[in-house]
């Protein structure tokens, strides 16, 4: 299989001495659903600020994303988030890694916008006063302040996705994983979400078919048939991926 380049940062985890303090590490990770293998022997370290993951449908990239915050625990191998094993320290991992899904409808369950944003803080037992303050702050940041008491299901598709993002960021995770965050959005809202991702201080991992989203990223992985087949700067990997697909 063509594997034209490999960056130093993508080396597997043996080099313990130079391992960055905050990073996600996959060690010999394989994952199967029943008889179907969706990831095979993936080993890498993600320490960059912004990492993109691309690949065709069914390539395993969605499972890859779910490994990073313990939504999926690998059938073999280990996933370490800042040194914490997702299989053993699930709750601590979830607090560090936020996750934004493709379909905003699946992420919003509470009747009003403010209640939905507060959900994660409830789970973390954040006191009511601080909760209200943090909810108000994050709603203001994403232009939803005027909608705090509105029924969440009446928001537009783009606003719903911003609400979903707000509901994750209010928990102040150190890192956010996005699983195809723009797939169901129109052009204007794609740009809006892209800008939100761009402005995040947190480390991000973005799984996407929307190649424009990856402009300015530090690193892009191409996943195919459960393996990482290319890994490097976005210019090179994205071009290589596009060339292979056409």
């Amino acid at each position: 299989m063509a594997r034209p380049w490999r960056r130093a940062a993508a080396r597997p985890a043996e080099e313990t001495a130079v391992r960055p303090r905050t990073a996600v590490e996959l060690v010999d990770v394989s994952h199967t659903y029943g008889e179907r293998t969706v990831l095979r022997d993936v080993s890498l370290v993600l320490a960059e600020h912004r990492v993109g993951v691309i690949g065709s449908n069914g390539s395993g990239k969605s499972t890859f994303a779910r490994l990073l915050n313990g939504l999926v625990v690998p059938t073999s191998g280990r996933v370490l988030v800042d040194g914490l094993d997702t299989a053993a320290d699930l709750r601590a991992v979830r607090r560090r890694v936020g996750f934004v899904f493709q379909d905003p409808d699946a992420q919003i369950v509470h009747p009003t916008v403010a209640e939905d944003v507060a959900f994660g803080l409830h789970n973390q037992r954040v006191p009511a006063a601080e909760r209200a303050e943090r909810v108000a702050e994050v709603l203001a940041r994403y232009g939803l302040a005027g909608h705090a008491d509105h029924p969440a299901h009446l928001l537009s598709g783009g606003q719903k996705q911003l609400l979903a993002i707000a509901g994750v960021l209010v928990m102040r995770p150190a890192r956010v994983v996005f699983d195809e965050p723009t797939t169901l959005l129109d052009l204007a809202n794609r740009r809006r979400v892209a800008r939100v991702i761009e402005e995040l201080e947190q480390d991000v991992v973005v799984v996407t078919h929307d190649l424009d989203l990856l402009t300015g990223f530090d690193r892009v992985l191409v996943v195919e048939d459960g393996r990482v087949v290319a890994d490097g700067a976005p210019g090179e990997t994205v071009d290589w991926y596009v060339a292979r697909m056409t």
Partner: protein, 212 residues
């Protein structure tokens, strides 16, 4: 949680009464009416409930009558049936008893906020902890149910349109299979999204005989 259509927003003494107390009174009333099947008792109870509704809960007579609309045909039929088959007194007792309970229940519904009722349900379900159920999740489950209702309706409409666009004339219920598969996947993703935000953070209570 927001309030629902059957709640009356006008404040009253009964609004300030704890929901648990009102529900207990409702239960006691239904036991009383069946334990003492006497026409005078039922009539006094009906009068008391009407007074309570108008003065205590500040409901309008119209709101009160609206509560009887779903059952009035049933009540009329029952009265006629008893008048012919048994006797009028039995019919009157059955009808008054029924109307009293329906109105009393309506008063509780009209004067209790959803959040209060959810809290009572959680309290009542507390013994289920022994089976590994977390009562605190009932509120979440109710919120999810209310959220899913418009989503399911929307997906059903989308499937119907897609089939109509392809000129499908097969019976509507066959669309139920694709619809159910779609919404089951939606529910699955919703659960993942909730877990990603720490929905399962609280350690489940230890079940006495099995983990839930």
């Amino acid at each position: 949680m927001s309030t629902l259509a059957l709640y009356s927003p006008v404040p009253s003494v009964l609004h300030r009464t704890p929901a648990g107390l009102k529900l207990a009174a409702l239960a006691a009333l239904s036991v009383l009416l069946f334990a003492v099947p006497q026409l005078p008792v039922a009539s006094i109870a009906l009068a008391a409930v009407v007074v309570l509704a108008l003065a205590g809960a500040r409901l309008t007579p119209r709101q009160l009558l609206a509560q009887l609309r779903p059952v009035w045909l049933w009540l009329a039929g029952l009265l006629v049936f008893h008048a012919i088959v048994t006797d009028l007194a039995t019919g009157a007792l059955a009808v008054i008893r029924l109307a009293t309970l329906v109105l009393a229940a309506a008063v509780v519904t009209a004067t209790s906020r959803v959040a209060e009722l959810v809290a009572v349900i959680e309290w009542v379900c507390a013994p289920l902890r022994l089976l590994g159920v977390r009562p605190a999740r009932i509120g979440l489950a109710i919120a999810m149910t209310l959220r899913f209702i418009p989503l399911i309706a929307e997906r059903a409409e989308r499937i119907r349109e897609a089939q109509a666009a392809r000129g499908a004339t097969r019976p509507l219920f066959l669309s139920l299979v694709p619809l159910l598969v779609q919404v089951l996947q939606l529910a699955h993703t919703t659960a993942e999204a909730l877990d990603a935000r720490g929905a399962d953070d609280e350690a489940p209570p230890r079940a006495l005989w099995r983990r839930g």
